[in-house]
């Protein structure tokens, strides 16, 4: 692959889709923690269960509020009645844990055997007196973080759906969507408050009962780049208006995000530029170190575009942005900022490779010899053994990376492997 320095617009490529990523059911790991009164029931096989228990590591031993409804041969061959089986399990969950809501996570198996979860849920909901929300977070259709998207889209579809909502025709409420730790939600909310923009609610919030009511013409804005279905559902089904902005990741993204929302509400953003500059000043320790270093994103969690954009602004060179799925409309603001950033920094526009092929990527990595490869855990150790620095991409999903103050966390994650290499350059034997 050759790199054309004169490229003026972003090149999109699509490969075979033979890449490593987490199964989207992994979203229960962070969602059950976020929604404190929820219970997640993953309806699938031993394969799903094995993935969850290994991927979640020690979390599994902390009596988590999630479980598998493990399908057995009799379920597959329809000798058992799905409705009766689910009723039995959910009654048990209600008795033992008494959650405010049960999420059913559909998997590949429920898709293939066409289990009618959406049909069964309303009936059981009535019988058990507990809301049941169905999300199809399966590996046939989605990758990793898109699991959250399916859950939030299901929530957006079903929550607060009542006649009264349609009355307020001129609502200008602002609802932010995307699951972030409570401290991050607080921080982003108070950033907007400081410019006199009020946040009406978050989807999701800490407790199921606190979820915002969605009215027609409410403004909605996403904080994560992998929430395109949620955005679509909010627009089409709930008639909300989407504010398309870059995502509040990195000080540049955060500033652009605030600016965009404020512009919708006609609020001036005095002092915002200075805020951003101040943060950049604080990050200089890292940016000096990272300047001109090259990065290769193999792609597995859909955070790749905004991370690449932030790193380019930090002075790094991005060779390739692999990404599982690219929604050019939902990420339009982000893509635009990426182009602008490349222009501003005087670097070439990276190639965006959708549905990458890991085998081909490794060949390109061997050619390009990037300073750091951002990749999943399946490739990290083998790449390190080849002498390539790596950073596990999963850590970006599980760390606090949004807003002004957390930009530091991202750069720490990126510079750690580089620092460690500096240590190893000195022989200690």
């Amino acid at each position: 692959m050759s790199i054309d320095l004169k490229t003026t617009s972003i090149t999109f490529e699509c490969e075979t889709g033979n890449y490593h990523t987490f199964c989207p059911i992994s979203c229960v790991a962070w969602l059950y923690q976020k929604i404190e009164d929820s219970f997640f029931l993953v309806i699938g096989t031993k394969t799903c269960g094995y993935f969850l228990q290994n991927a979640l590591g020690v979390m599994i031993f902390a009596e988590p509020r999630y479980a598998m409804a493990e399908l057995e041969e009799a379920d597959i061959s329809a000798q058992l009645n799905d409705y009766a089986e689910l009723k039995r399990l959910c009654s048990l969950i209600k008795k033992d844990r008494n959650p405010s809501v049960i999420f059913w996570i559909g998997t590949c198996t429920t898709e293939i055997i066409k289990m009618d979860l959406e049909g069964i849920a309303p009936k059981l909901e009535k019988e058990l007196g507990i809301p049941i929300i169905v999300a199809r977070a399966n590996g046939l259709d989605y990758a990793f973080t898109q699991g959250e998207d399916t859950v939030l889209a299901a929530l957006a579809n079903s929550f607060g759906l009542s006649e009264t909502n349609k009355n307020s025709r001129n609502s200008s409420n602002l609802i932010l969507f995307g699951s972030v730790p409570n401290t991050v939600a607080y921080e982003l909310t108070s950033e907007l408050n400081s410019f006199d923009v009020q946040v009406t609610g978050w989807l999701p919030s800490k407790r199921f009962a606190d979820f915002p009511t969605l009215n027609e013409k409410d403004f909605v804005c996403g904080v994560n780049p992998y929430l395109s279905r949620t955005a679509t559902t909010l627009m089409r089904r709930r008639k909300c208006k989407l504010i398309s902005a870059p995502f509040p990741i990195g000080p540049d993204g955060t500033k652009a995000w605030i600016e965009k929302i404020c512009s919708v509400y006609n609020k001036p953003t005095f002092g915002l530029k200075e805020r951003e500059d101040k943060i950049w000043k604080k990050l200089e320790v890292y940016t000096k170190e990272l300047k001109n270093k090259s990065v290769f994103f193999m792609g597995d969690n859909l955070l790749e575009i905004c991370l690449a954009r932030f790193l380019i602004r930090c002075g790094m060179v991005v060779f390739e942005i692999g990404i599982p799925y690219m929604d050019k409309r939902y990420q339009a603001g982000e893509l635009e900022l990426l182009e602008k950033t490349c222009e501003q920094m005087g670097v070439f526009l990276p190639i965006i490779v959708e549905k990458p092929d890991n085998y081909n990527q490794i060949a390109r990595i061997k050619d390009l010899q990037p300073d750091i490869v951002i990749t999943g855990m399946a490739h990290a150790n083998p790449l390190e053994a080849l002498g390539t620095n790596t950073k596990w991409s999963v850590e970006f999903t599980f760390s606090q990376i949004h807003g002004f103050t957390n930009a530091k966390t991202i750069l720490e994650l990126i510079s750690n492997p580089l620092r460690r290499t500096n240590i190893h350059k000195k022989n200690f034997y």
Binding site: F22, P24, I43, A55, A69, A380, N381
Partner: protein
């Protein structure tokens, strides 16, 4: 449907992949949806493998659901054949392919017409067998395939070696302490003057399978994987096998005496009694240890043992026979080994438990309240919750159970390692107990010191502070107070905390 939070043995395809990735130059292609290649993470993280795991997925997506995966699977097999040049490609079905019911065997037949590599379809059913059974079957399948192939090609080597020799069948990736066990086993066999003809599947080439019948006999060190292969070789090639796991002094001696008998029967006269005696008394410290004064304190102490059949049975016997510990309950999650297990342990423990439900195990442990537990990572966590020490003796395990140092469980060095493990578990328990009696550790409830008492924290800020992990909480509290003081703030709210964070003072 079964409500399940955790499982001891994984799904079938994991077993197949553990076999294929143990061989050299064998590639597995999983017929699976995106995200099912989690095995690669296990291999690369737990075993810290330096090579890319030779497993790729032929991804089942919507497209495949509507059109069938024939084209894609055949294309992927052809591609891997060219890219990696493997000796064998194993098409591995998953739970998804079980229900799609595509004719995968037909794809294999089609693909193998154009490939250099041999192609096999792993003969495992997701809904019928678990990880361990699948591993056993896949290994048998590969052995059978190559024995029959070389027989047809007349390359099968059936003439026995001049020196006594063995095949070790079963050691594979992600097994408990397998690399160390293998090293120890080879050392033991070398001491006995026996050549290791072939180890299967760990680091073996499938092209070497034709040499299998050259060995005088086979060894199956673990019950879970290898027996089917050994039985096949016994039936068709009249090769005897030893299925005693040489774990613990007594079983190691039994293992060696079995080898002695086998060799003597074949007219090769050996006497290992002196070797057993010297090793037991001087190389292994375990025999002396069990007579030493420390072990007096262990006599009559209670323990619960749970794990795979091999390790749980071996540990039960060591605890009961070699150390005089009272094993109140011995159990395994290998339900298919039920009869064997009960037969092995019933005279050494009060009760047996055959289950793969970890909540049942937890209930039993909390009812019994043993002085120590020997189990898997799950029992370790149960122990943590109940404040009972636990030694990990069997898979499923975490990364810390893939130690860098030499820690075999088999053979004479194994007896030393096990003795340490047992003793350390019990003393830790004793120490804890004594500390409780004498007032506990004095560091338990140290207050985090403040800079001054003038600065107040509001309730939100306090609850935020509480969320910060204990080991850094004090530092953060002091920093925020310092920041407040400099800025003339006398009540700390959440806003102040964030302002402080933003200024880089936390």
């Amino acid at each position: 449907m079964k409500l399940a939070y955790w499982m001891y043995a994984g799904p079938a395809h994991i077993g197949t992949l553990r076999i294929t990735s143990s061989f050299k130059n064998v590639h597995a292609i999983m017929h699976a949806p995106l995200g099912d290649d989690y095995y690669n993470v296990l291999q690369s993280m737990l075993e810290r493998k330096r090579n890319f795991t030779p497993v790729t997925a032929s991804v089942v997506d919507r497209h495949v659901l509507s059109r069938g995966s024939q084209e894609k699977v055949i294309e992927n097999i052809g591609r891997k054949d060219k890219e990696e040049n493997p000796d064998l490609i194993v098409l591995t079905p998953t739970c998804t392919s079980s229900i799609l019911q595509e004719d995968l065997q037909n794809f294999v037949n089609r693909a193998s017409q154009d490939t250099q590599a041999d192609i096999l379809l792993a003969d495992v059913n997701h809904y019928r067998v678990n990880e361990l059974q699948a591993a056993d079957r896949t290994l048998e399948q590969i052995i059978k395939f190559y024995i029959e192939k070389s027989k047809k090609e007349k390359t099968l080597l059936t003439e026995k070696t001049t020196q006594p020799s063995v095949n070790i069948i079963g050691p594979c990736s992600l097994s408990f302490h397998v690399h160390h066990d293998l090293m120890e086993l080879k050392r033991l066999l070398k001491d006995l003057g026996i050549i290791v003809n072939l180890v299967l599947p760990q680091d073996a080439l499938v092209t070497d399978i034709k040499k299998l019948p050259q060995a005088w006999f086979n060894i199956v060190p673990y019950r879970e994987v290898g027996l089917l292969g050994a039985e096949y070789l016994k039936t068709f090639y009249d090769m005897p096998f030893i299925d005693i796991s040489p774990i613990g002094i007594e079983d190691t001696a039994k293992f060696i005496r079995n080898i002695q008998n086998l060799l003597n029967q074949k007219g090769y006269k050996v006497d290992f009694e002196n070797y057993i005696d010297v090793q037991t008394r001087f190389v292994s410290q375990a025999a002396w240890f069990s007579r030493s004064i420390d072990c007096q304190n262990l006599v009559g102490k209670t323990a619960v043992v749970f794990g795979d059949a091999t390790h749980a049975a071996a540990l039960t016997r060591i605890l009961a026979k070699e150390l005089g510990i009272n094993v109140v309950l011995a159990g395994t999650y290998c339900k298919h080994q039920k009869d064997w297990f009960i037969n092995q342990v019933q005279s050494y423990c009060k009760d047996t438990l055959i289950t793969d439900d970890h909540t049942l195990v937890a209930d039993m442990i909390s009812k019994i309240e043993p002085c120590a537990i020997f189990g898997t990572q799950m029992e370790r966590h149960i122990g943590k919750r109940l404040n009972i020490p636990c030694g990990v003796i069997s898979a499923p395990v975490h990364i810390q159970n893939f130690p860098l140092g030499y820690k075999p469980f088999v053979g004479y060095e194994g007896t030393n390692q096990i003795a340490d493990l047992i003793y350390n578990s019990f003393t830790l328990g004793m120490e804890d107990h004594l500390l409780e009696i004498f007032g506990g550790h004095d560091t338990k409830s140290v207050e985090v010191s403040s800079i001054s008492t003038e600065i107040e924290w509001d309730t939100n800020a306090i609850s935020e502070l509480k969320k910060i992990p204990g080991f850094v909480r004090g530092k953060i509290k002091r920093n925020v107070e310092k920041f407040a003081k400099i800025n003339n703030i006398n009540k700390i709210s959440l806003e102040v905390m964030y302002a402080c964070k933003e200024n880089g003072n936390v």
